[in-house]
Amino acid sequence: MNSILKVDGLTKHFPGSKHSLFGKRDVIQAVDGLSFEVEKGEAIGLVGESGCGKSTTGRLITRLLEPTAGKIEFNGIDITHLSNSEMRPIRQDLQIIFQDPYASLNPRHTVGTIVASPFRIGGVPPEGGTKKRVQELLEIVGLNPEHYNRYPHEFSGGQRQRIGIARALALRPKLIVADEPVSALDVSIQAQVINLLKDLQTQFDIAFIFIAHDLAVVRHFAQRVAVMYLGNIVEIAERDTLYSNPKHPYTKALLSAVPEVDPDAIGSRERIRLTGDVPNPINPPSGCRFRTRCWKAQEVCASSEPQLLTIGKSQVACHFPEK
């Protein structure tokens, strides 16, 4: 068995608001029946627009949220409903990097304390002393090891993100969930962090779940990409297959909406303009959830929900996939 993570029918429903005293509470179907696997050392990208459930998925996998249904198997162990204390030893292999480098570091702790916290919480003092290991980690992520006594506010956004990365690396995890790790950074800093993450992934053979809304960024990082829409995976394929031959209409529309930097290429590209916005996850459309914005939608799309099926080299959930 080579997979580090197996997710089967993962579902998360959040309770919404109540409209009357004895009325039923709304149910926000943030993630609805996700199934996928991550191989050891593999980088998988999770893309989609805001509200599609990609961050919720990341938090479910790291067990920061309790799943409503489904099963999460990490490294052969069923972690779906483990308690906090049971999760603790497992977290040494399962880490997360957050989007906002300003909110995810405690402003009252020095960088040394922050990066050393996994050792303290996990109860696993590193060989050769904590300070030495922290300085090593800072060096690995491209920060000055002498800065371990400084506070987060003394660092820029890109540097803070590196601190978060050092913390995630501390216990040499087998899987890191990176939730929009570069979207809060300036363009010139984004490239530095993407390169760093990619180096670390190959150097330490860590599996990554890279969550992002930027398709070009994901293309530079992931070997396999899953596209999400309203809580479902609509397409999952090897990177080159997905980008060169998208099978789901939504994937196709998403790719065509990315603005083109080369002025000469703008006219030559096929443009698909979706109308309207993503529907409300409290009351998602029946059948295929994308049908309300899809130009190919027919009656069958409203009546039956398409399953994720293998077509060519991709897995697609669509009644009328692209050739």
Binding site: N195, V217, R273
Partner: protein, 341 residues
Amino acid sequence: MNKFLEVKNLSVSFPTEDGVVRAVDNMSFSLEKGKTLGIVGESGSGKSVTSLAILGLHKGSSAQVSGEILIDGKDINAMQENEVQLLRGNLMSMIFQDALAALHPYYTVGNQIEEAYLVHNKVSKSVAKKRAIEMLDRVGIPEPQKRVDDYPHQFSGGMRQRAMIAMALSCNPSLLIADEPTTALDVTVQAQIIDLLRDLQKEFNTAIILITHDLGVVAETADDILLMYAGKEIEYGTVRDILQKPQHPYAWGLLTSIPRLTGNPNKPLAAIAGTPPSMISVPGGCAFHPRCSYVSQVGQSCSSSIPELVPVAQGAHHLVRCHLDAPVRGEIFKNQVAPNL
């Protein structure tokens, strides 16, 4: 030639406890009606401060603004606050990045569009409401008669952005400043808003200043690009000049560091080293020199003197602020940059 907007030697500085911050330093540019200028730069480079100066929004703050801002020949910077007020919304208008913060949560969307229209037109409230519905319809809000009475929180992110565009355009302004109008939006909605702005520009012949950090968005909308770094314009030219034949090392760095949908995804991105400078202590000489890989080709002057903004070639409209000699720069571009574009 008669330029609709002409900015000459604009400087904006803010006195702070740590010293004077020169947020914008000696900027000059111009814009014709029906054209779009993209101002591109990273956070803190002075893009937004420039746009606020054009709208006269620094008046009454501690900011010191010098230089001329000529719109249709009238100098905004020399005017009194109440004179500029008459032009704001009417002659020039602005849309902001965060539509939820820019719209008032207590008033309906219709109210807010009507307010802008009533300030500049002597009409009854019912006429103004009709105008609001007409504008909402024009920017693609479904069922505008019904939605006009909705509050901002009842709109989705993309619809709020549309409502703000409707508000900004309700008085047919000749100049529209769009400050990161699509940054907070999803790609599919971003594409819709870009299309909408382009259509509206054709219809109303509006001059647009588009402020963004996204080179893809400028490539799709702008005619000219002004690239800023640490409060200075460092390169200025047409979209094709800047994106296909960039001359400044910072422009090279930016263009090669963005991940694209084409090109080799297995090759590491050519990132720019270091971080943007703090505006309190801008490096001496060329502000970019601590991050520049070509300093060794020039020597001392990069850290001691600020390069002039000069034409790339004799008589060219493409301007660049860099100490590299033109032939050397051409060589570097041909051999090291162009293959990575």
